[in-house]
Subunit: 282 residues, 2 copies
């Protein structure tokens, strides 16, 4: 057995390590450093600037929860904007909804899409969806300039450093608000409450969204390969409540097969521990 380990710092004093069978590929794309690895436990996984973006073993959790939650709050969602998400996982889940008519996807780094198609085709599997318009642009600039009205915006970004930074600003959220329909929903990658490095960003993102959207909340997932395994997604909207407005039966009738998401865990995910509530309400 090869004794080669990939390690990620979850905090100054915490490391998470995966035994690697092979380091498949490495490239500096100009935007970020991207690396692909092969492992026994997790299948293939890739990192941006040294941080795990996804592993084949647990990516279904994040991708199901970032898409099926908003889709079952408003099954009439027809026009969707995805920011980031170059690996294609969010697109893969969205493309299962026949009712969606248009998906604009804005990824700043073309190489992420190209390389994920090559190295992780199980995730980057729906780039041929005829409803997709793919833009290789800065998401911040895109939402400022686009003339369109979306029912749903999904911000599936890296952490708020380097390329991801602009996607955590008040300006960006304000622009998102403007291009959302009256019953529009914004869902975003929302960091984590456990390690301070991440909880600081979780709080900041929530505070900014609260100032802009009438309804803002956060929901949690068990994502074992992200720091602490306790990861958050943000749900912000103009009118729809993620739990009260959940269309449980309508979603069930779609007969989608899911490995993590179901209508009960949809509700359950919005029930937060006291220490997280305190951070968010402060």
């Amino acid at each position: 057995m090869v004794n080669l380990w990939f390690s990620e710092r979850w905090s100054e004093d915490t490391k998470f390590s995966i035994r690697v069978k092979k380091h498949l590929y490495s490239e500096d794309t100009g935007f970020q450093k991207i690396d692909f690895y092969e492992s026994t436990e997790y299948g293939r996984f890739f990192t941006l600037d040294g941080y795990i973006m996804l592993t084949e073993k647990d990516e279904f959790i994040y991708h199901e929860m970032i898409t099926h939650v908003p889709m079952s709050v408003n099954p009439d969602i027809k026009n969707v904007l995805i920011i980031g998400a170059g690996d294609g996982g969010t697109l893969r889940e969205l493309s299962r909804y026949k009712t969606i008519e248009n998906i604009d996807m804005v990824e700043i780094d073309k190489r992420v899409v190209e390389l994920c198609k090559e190295y992780i085709p199980s995730v980057a599997s729906k780039f041929d969806d005829s409803r997709l318009k793919l833009y290789f642009e800065d998401g911040v600039k895109f939402v400022k300039e686009v003339k369109n009205t979306y029912d749903l915006i999904i911000v599936d970004s890296t952490d708020p450093i380097h390329v991801g930074e602009g996607l955590f600003t008040k300006d960006f959220y304000t622009d998102c608000y403007k291009i959302l329909a009256d019953n529009g929903i914004l869902v975003n990658q929302h960091e984590s409450p456990f390690y301070e490095e991440f909880s600081v960003e979780m709080k900041k993102a929530h505070d900014k969204l609260k100032d802009i959207f009438p309804i803002t909340t956060v929901y949690q997932i068990h994502q074992p390969t992200y720091a602490s395994g306790h990861w958050m997604l943000g749900f912000a909207s103009k009118t729809l409540d993620p739990v009260k407005d959940q269309k449980e039966m309508e979603w069930e009738n779609l007969k989608l097969t899911t490995k993590y998401y179901n209508p009960k865990i949809h509700k359950g995910a919005f029930a937060l521990p006291n220490y997280v509530l305190e951070m968010l309400n402060k």
Copy 2:
């Protein structure tokens, strides 16, 4: 900064590591090897046979969820049996309920209690509770022989290896059933669904309990320092349903301050991902 790391294998190919300021103490108790460490991120933590039992940073999650869930399903619980739990965390939380009249606690390894009192007094803080009767015995033998009827049994054990093994057998669960009142509840440490090493044991424990108790289910917690961060507790009972019979208002009226538990996350914790449901129902 000291570059000394404690590492725990979460699977053959996964390591979780904590930077340690000082290795405080180590002893072979005859039952197991116990080690105490000091760290910046997690405060003090201790291991049994190399596995983290608790850290000061996140022990509140496990201890609150293993006690407040059953206590709010049946606020009339008066007679409690704790098996294992030598660190005192479960006792600390239970001792907050004035309505409890008697707590029998059976810990096989006296040294765990003695050393936790010395090294982690923030957790081992309630061994002076006058309602406590502490037995240093084998829990398996205790439940077979005791003449008593309990309203609640909490099995707060290590993994089903070495000393903990007997606490995961059908015989043990059957004996627990016999000494439980008609509305009795059994809550137990129930392993984890994500890594196969643990999920195998989760499934086995659930299958055994299903054969004995009319109501058996599993609930989940976000426990960052246990393998995958996705940890399970088992809830088995003769008549009470953990969600339908939850006494939300009665618990609220107790005005207990908690850092993780609240009535909403009580319900939410029983909403399980599909892949976990499939494992449990198979």
